[in-house]
Amino acid sequence: MRLLRDGSRDASTFSDNLRVSEYLIGFAAIIAAAGAALLTGPAGIEKTGVLAELLDQVPFVSIDSGLSSIQKNILWQIRLPRVVLGALVGATLAVSGASYQAVFRNPLADPYLLGAAAGAGLGATVAIVTGSGDGIGTFDLVPLLAFVGALIAVALTYSLGYSSGTQRSPAALLLAGVAVASFLTAIQTFIQQQNVDTIRQVYSWILGRLTTASWDEVSLLAPYALVSTLLILVYRRALDVMRLGDVEASSVGIRPQLVRLVVICAASLGTAAAVAVSGLIAFVGLIVPHTVRLLAGASNRIVLPLSILFGAAFLVLVDLLGRSLASPAEIPLGVITAFCGAPFFVVLLRSSKRTLG
């Protein structure tokens, strides 16, 4: 990873733009994680067969993998969409976390800060207890209500936070987020208590899972993930300027309120869509950006793109662990992210000479 350069006076080294080598490391991490996840599964398909089947997709290469049509189906319709969904969810949560930390200039900020988790939780609980989680026809209402719940919660937080005073400070927004989250969680807990028979289903959703991954869910999340990520990346330099505080940022021509609004909207949209398909996966939005910051530097021009790449790789890997460690049972993703991520992060925090900014 990036080392602090010696006394180089070349000003182009100050620009904090990501270098090609860093992109390559990020992509290599995704490919390694995805490769491992595609090769592993309870169906026990021959690894060489999977590799041959994958190589067969490369243009001008034709290899007979020897996989049966059922095995091919498992690879293309079960394992691959799950890997792609994991990567999309991981990338979205990590970049949303990084951008919340940037706009609030608060290292503890995570994608659920403004009530997205509580709103989504309430939406999903309503869908599950009313039985619509089993699907009306073939349509599953859980992701839809979770998505809508998350967006309503963030909108509520934003309007409360900005109507609370003339100051329009980020702190007011954070406090509004805490209030909205507690209120919605209270309603959710009440509904859950009144419907004890569905508690297991609700609980499994809250801990996060990719068990229902399919191409449908990938296509549900992909447009939101793409729009949200691109918008955030467009503002990566402005977010670096925002590190100077609102007054100085505006003295060099940035409009802090506008940047904050756009980035929060983009990150919340991405988070809501990710939560809708995967449930509440905690810690990704905290651990990944901070790990990147400690290894590569605090500039948002480094942290945001690398969070996307490493967030994707991280969640694919976590999902692989979740479905292999106690196979055939699955461990909820939130449990793994916290169990592996937290100690790793502590070690990194103690050994790093860099600062979290």
């Binding site: 100050f14 021509g253 910051r293």
Partner: protein, 261 residues
Amino acid sequence: MNFCVAEEVVVRVGEKSILDRVSVSIEPGEWVSVVGPNGAGKTTLLSVMAGLRAASGKIFIGGRDLKELSSRERARLLAYVPQHPEIPPGMRVGSYVLLGRTPHLSFLGMEGPEDFRLVEQVLEQFDLATLGQRTLDSLSGGELQRCHLARAIAQATPIIFFDEPTAALDLGHQQQALERIRRLREEHQVTVVTTMHDLTLASQYCDRMILMSEGQIAADGTPSEVLDPDRLSDLYGAHVKVLNVDDHLVVIPVVERYELG
């Protein structure tokens, strides 16, 4: 033509007037120091003139109404260094100075070779060239002050506002900071507006002083016109003497018992 004009500026917080119909006009290339007791409205006047604080009244920079400028256009006309600038943890000196180029980049733009060249020159000029890769949080107070000045210069604006550029600096660093401002003013022909507490230092460097009291202008003129011992004693509530030492004005508070003869 007056370069920077404030007309009838009023800032109120609740019932209290922080600035009460203040009008100021500054000529191109001038160094104006805004002085006055604590709470006189110096910093407020500076941030209003820099377009960073809302106020009633009008501000014109180079003949253009500040309210009609976009924030980018405004940032190409004026730079502002607050009294206590933020020190983002982990940010390198070079990256920090490059942020000064922000108003000159397009919306999606990143810095180009021209920005790098300019920043290299500025770092050289402020003796920061060897510190470019160091992080801001590892610097001394004097080095940090140079970084703030360098970022303002990298912004390449015709007017720069400094709020207390010598606060928290020792005697030597105070003088060095002001010398640098004087030099860059001569080299880049920039107009400089500072707020300052130290009347002696202010009088030695600036062309003109604006003495403020309770949100109004109490005196406006050359240092020798403004630094009247009776006026200062009255406004600051202290016994003050103004001495002339080798053609430099020196303002000293005097305890009555030991009155100098």
